[in-house]
């Protein structure tokens, strides 16, 4: 099991770093918002993996909250970007 934890941690960490690099480099606001969505999804996966490996369900409501409200940011940014360019 310890091997699984290490491999999964490395993979998720590398994915999160990739998303962070994309947030920093841009080039457009849309790139950044997509990358931060990936960061949220990676966080969901990491929290869930911890729960599955340690066999508890204490943070399941956190996952529900993230799944529900994770999209608010990207929708508002996308909407305001489109509105600004239309005019």
């Amino acid at each position: 099991m310890i091997v699984v934890v290490i491999v999964a941690g490395l993979l998720m960490g590398a994915g999160a770093i990739g998303a962070l690099v994309r947030i920093i480099r841009g080039p457009s606001a849309l790139d950044r918002i997509i990358a931060s969505d990936v960061l949220v999804a990676t966080a969901i996966c990491a929290i869930g993996a911890e729960m599955a490996i340690n066999r508890h369900t204490d943070t399941l409501p956190v996952l529900l909250g993230l799944a529900l409200f994770g999209i608010v940011g990207s929708i508002s940014v996308a909407r305001f970007l489109a509105a600004r360019d239309d005019t």
Partner: protein, 119 residues
């Protein structure tokens, strides 16, 4: 329980299932990070982003439900997958539309564009 705990060499079937699902989800996160770096424009990166959002979350929530099978866990797991699969396409669509309308994509890598002119 006894059926799930059955196994050999002290490793239960449940441990194997847990490990495999965690690895699937981790692989999706990794592929998304690499895709974000390698794909050339906003619309392609959007495709990379949907992987951990959908398969990663489904795998990990299924994993939690397998390792703690109870009614409350399963209903909450179903709710999480339901909301995630309902909201993820909406945000992808909004971002994709904004990207198309503001021209944040490369036309030279498109095989065809049947939308141009309909806008």
């Amino acid at each position: 329980m006894s059926a799930l705990e059955w196994g050999f060499d002290g490793i239960g079937v449940r441990d194997v299932v847990t490990g495999v699902l965690v690895l699937v989800s981790a692989l999706m996160c990794f592929a998304a990070g690499v895709g974000l770096l390698r794909f050339p424009d906003v619309l392609s990166r959007l495709h990379a982003a949907t992987k951990p959002q959908i398969l990663g979350v489904i795998a990990i929530v299924a994993d939690v439900a397998v390792s703690n099978p109870s009614l409350a866990t399963i209903t909450l797991a179903v709710a999480i997958v339901f909301f995630q699969s309902l909201t993820a396409p909406v945000s992808a669509h909004m971002v994709g539309r904004a990207a198309y309308r503001t021209g944040h994509f490369r036309t030279d890598i498109l095989v065809t564009d049947e939308f141009r002119g309909h806008d």
